[in-house]
C-alpha cells in the first residue's frame, strides 16, 4: 500500500426496486429540462429504454441517440457531442452497458470543456471542472461499474487501441441501479459481466493504489458476487440477485475507480482492441493466470480475499500460507461452474483469439496505463507467457 492515497466518490446512488422512477426528480434537482438520452438499439428493442423514457414523465427529451456500437469510438463521441449542441440539450441520461456509459462520459467531457475532438482532451487527472453538464447513469449490465468510476475507455480505431480517460469530472451526478434494467440479461452475459465485476474487485484489492476505503468496497463486492452470480445465471428473473449484482458492480467500480486495475485489465484491453474479445470474457479467461503472475507480491492480499471469495468456514479451515493459492482455486472453481452453466470460454482458444496476434497484444498491453499500478513489473515476455498460458 502507498504512503498516501486519494478516494473520490461524489456520485449519488439510487439503488433498489423502482429506482428509475425517481429519475424525473433527480433530473429536476440537477436543473435538467432537455436531456439527451443515450442508449443502444438492443435496449430500445427489448423495452428497457422505454422504462426509463416513461420515468422521465414531464421532462421532454432533447434528443434520443441509440446508435452506439458495442465498442464506442472517438468518432461516435464527437458526433454525439455535436448533436447535443445542435439539439440544445442540457444534460445527459445514459442507459446501457459500459460502452454507452463511457460514451456519455466522453460527450460530457467535450461539452464541459467546450471542445470538439476527444483526442484533444487526453490525459489523466489534468482537466479543470469546466461547465457542469448534469449526468445520470443507468447501467443495464452488472459488470463495468462505469457508473462509479472516473474512467472512460474509448476506442481509437486508427490505432487499434482502447484509450483511457481519467478525471474525477467524468463521474456521474447520479447512478440509478434498478433491477428492471438487468432482468433480461441472458445467462451468458450475466456470467461474463459478473466476472468483470469480480476482476475489478480483486485487482482493486491487490494493486498499488489499494487503500483501506477501496478495500472495503472491493471486499463487499466480492462477497456479493460469491453469493449471487451463479444464482443470477440460474434464475435471471430474481430481482434480489439482480440487485445484489448491480450493487456489487457499483462497489467494485468505486473500488477500482480509486485504486485502479492491473495486468489482467491491461492485457484484457489489448485483447479487446487487437483480437476483439469481449471484455468480460477476457477478464474471465485472464483473471486466474493474472493472479498467479502477481501471487509472488500479492500473497497477503489474495489470502485476505479468500474470506470473501469462499466464506469464513473455508477461510478458517485453510492454513494461512495456503490461503492465496486457495483464493485462486476459488476463482477457477467459479469460472468452471459458469462454463458448465453458460459455455463462457475459459481459454483464449475457445474465445477465438489468434495466437499469431499475441506479440501485437503484448506490445499494446505494455502501453496500457494499468501496467504502471500493477504490483509486479509487466514485461513483454511476461505478457506473452500469460497469453500462452491462457490459450489452452
Amino acid at each position: 500500500m502507498t504512503s498516501y492515497f486519494e478516494f473520490t466518490n461524489p456520485t449519488k446512488l439510487c439503488s433498489g426496486k423502482g429506482a428509475a422512477d425517481n429519475l424525473e426528480y433527480e433530473l429536476e434537482i440537477l436543473g435538467v429540462r432537455r436531456p439527451m438520452v443515450l442508449s443502444d438499439r438492443v435496449l430500445e428493442k427489448i423495452g428497457t429504454l422505454k422504462i426509463v423514457l416513461n420515468a422521465l414523465r414531464e421532462i421532454q427529451t432533447g434528443r434520443i441517440f441509440t446508435d452506439i456500437p458495442r465498442d464506442s469510438s472517438v468518432e461516435v463521441v464527437n458526433r454525439i457531442a455535436k448533436e447535443y449542441r445542435e439539439f440544445d440539450c442540457d444534460g445527459l441520461v445514459a442507459v446501457g452497458g459500459g460502452s454507452v456509459l463511457d460514451t456519455a462520459k466522453g460527450v460530457r467531457l467535450l461539452i464541459s470543456q467546450g471542445a470538439d475532438d476527444l483526442l484533444e482532451l487526453m490525459g489523466c487527472e489534468c482537466l479543470p471542472k469546466g461547465t457542469h453538464v448534469p449526468f445520470a447513469a443507468l447501467p443495464t449490465t452488472a459488470g463495468t461499474g462505469s457508473e462509479a468510476t472516473p474512467v472512460a475507455v474509448i476506442k481509437n480505431p486508427a490505432l487499434h487501441i482502447k484509450m483511457e480517460y481519467i478525471s474525477q469530472h467524468l463521474m456521474p451526478d447520479v447512478a440509478v441501479l434498478d433491477p428492471r434494467m438487468t432482468l433480461t440479461l441472458p445467462p451468458r452475459i450475466t456470467a461474463s459481466t459478473g466476472m468483470d465485476t469480480l476482476c475489478h474487485a480483486i485487482e482493486a484489492y491487490s494493486c498499488m493504489q489499494k487503500n483501506p476505503v477501496s478495500d472495503a468496497y472491493a471486499a463487499a463486492a466480492v462477497t456479493l458476487v460469491r453469493d449471487n452470480l451463479v444464482k443470477a445465471v440460474r434464475h435471471g428473473r430474481s430481482k434480489e440477485t439482480r440487485m445484489a449484482l448491480a450493487n456489487a458492480s457499483y462497489l467494485a467500480g468505486a473500488a477500482f475507480g480509486n485504486s485502479m486495475v492491473g495486468v489482467v485489465h491491461a492485457v484484457g484491453h489489448a485483447l479487446g482492441g487487437v483480437c476483439h474479445i469481449p471484455h468480460g470474457d477476457a477478464m474471465n479467461i485472464l483473471l486466474p493466470v493474472g493472479m498467479i503472475f502477481n501471487r509472488k507480491v500479492c500473497r497477503g492480499a489474495y489470502g485476505e480475499l479468500l474470506l470473501y471469495l469462499a466464506g469464513p468456514e473455508v477461510y478458517q479451515a485453510t492454513k494461512p500460507e495456503n490461503r492465496a493459492d486457495q483464493a485462486i482455486r476459488e476463482v477457477i472453481k467459479l469460472r468452471r461452474k459458469l462454463h458448465e452453466l453458460t459455455g463462457l470460454p475459459q481459454t483464449l482458444k475457445e474465445a477465438g483469439a489468434d495466437p499469431a496476434l499475441f506479440p501485437q497484444v503484448a506490445e499494446t498491453a505494455l502501453n496500457d496505463g494499468a501496467c504502471i499500478v500493477n504490483p509486479r513489473e509487466v514485461t513483454f515476455e511476461a505478457v506473452i507467457k500469460i497469453l500462452e498460458k491462457c490459450y489452452e
Binding site: 490525459g123 489534468c126 487501441i161 483511457e164 498499488m208 505494455l366 496505463g369 504502471i372 509486479r376 513489473e377
Partner: protein, 161 residues
C-alpha cells in the same frame, strides 16, 4: 528556502536525466527501441511543480531527444503537483509508478505513449541510482547493458543543449 533548494536540486537532476537519456539512446538497446517507437517530433515536458523547474524535449532521430528552449504546450506533459513531490522522485525516494499511484503528478496527453517514456525513466533509474536504492523503489531491477560509471562519465561530456 527549503523549496528553493529542492527546486535547484530538481534542476540539476533534470539536466543529468536529459544527458543520460541521450547517452542511453546510444548505449542501451532497450532505451533506443523505446524512443525509436515514439511518434516523429513528439514533444514531452516534465514540470516539477507550480513555478518549478521544467525540462522540455523533442524526439530526434539522431540523438533520441533534443532539448527545447521554449515549449508552451507539449504532446505529453507530466506535471508534478508540488516541488516536494518532484523532488521525491528525482532524488530516488519514489519511483514513477509510486508517484503515479500517490497522485503526485498528473498527465496531459496520451497515456498510451507516456508508458514508453515511463519505461525509459525506469531503465535510467537502474543506472543513476545505486542498486540498493533502485531495489527499494523499483518493482524489479531493470538491469544494465553498460556500467553505470560509463553512463555518468559520458553524461558529463554530453552536450547539454
Amino acid at each position: 528556502m527549503k523549496r528553493e533548494l529542492m527546486n535547484q536540486a530538481d534542476k540539476i537532476v533534470l539536466e543529468v536525466l536529459y544527458r543520460s537519456f541521450r547517452v542511453l539512446y546510444r548505449k542501451d538497446s532497450r532505451v533506443r527501441r523505446e524512443i525509436d517507437s515514439w511518434a516523429e517530433d513528439l514533444t514531452l515536458k516534465l514540470v516539477c511543480g507550480p513555478k518549478g523547474t521544467a525540462l522540455a524535449v523533442r524526439h530526434d532521430e539522431k540523438h533520441g531527444i533534443v532539448k527545447l528552449r521554449r515549449a508552451q504546450k507539449a504532446d505529453i506533459t507530466m506535471r508534478f503537483k508540488s516541488v516536494e513531490g518532484a523532488f521525491q522522485v528525482l532524488s530516488g525516494q519514489k519511483s514513477v509508478a509510486d508517484a503515479y499511484a500517490e497522485h503526485l503528478f498528473f498527465l496531459e496527453g496520451d497515456i498510451f505513449q507516456t508508458m514508453s517514456f515511463v519505461r525509459c525513466v525506469e531503465y535510467l533509474e537502474g543506472y543513476l541510482f545505486p542498486e540498493f536504492m533502485s531495489r527499494r523503489i523499483l518493482k524489479e531491477l531493470p538491469g544494465r547493458q553498460v556500467p553505470a560509471l560509463q553512463v555518468y562519465a559520458l553524461a558529463l561530456l554530453e552536450n547539454g543543449n
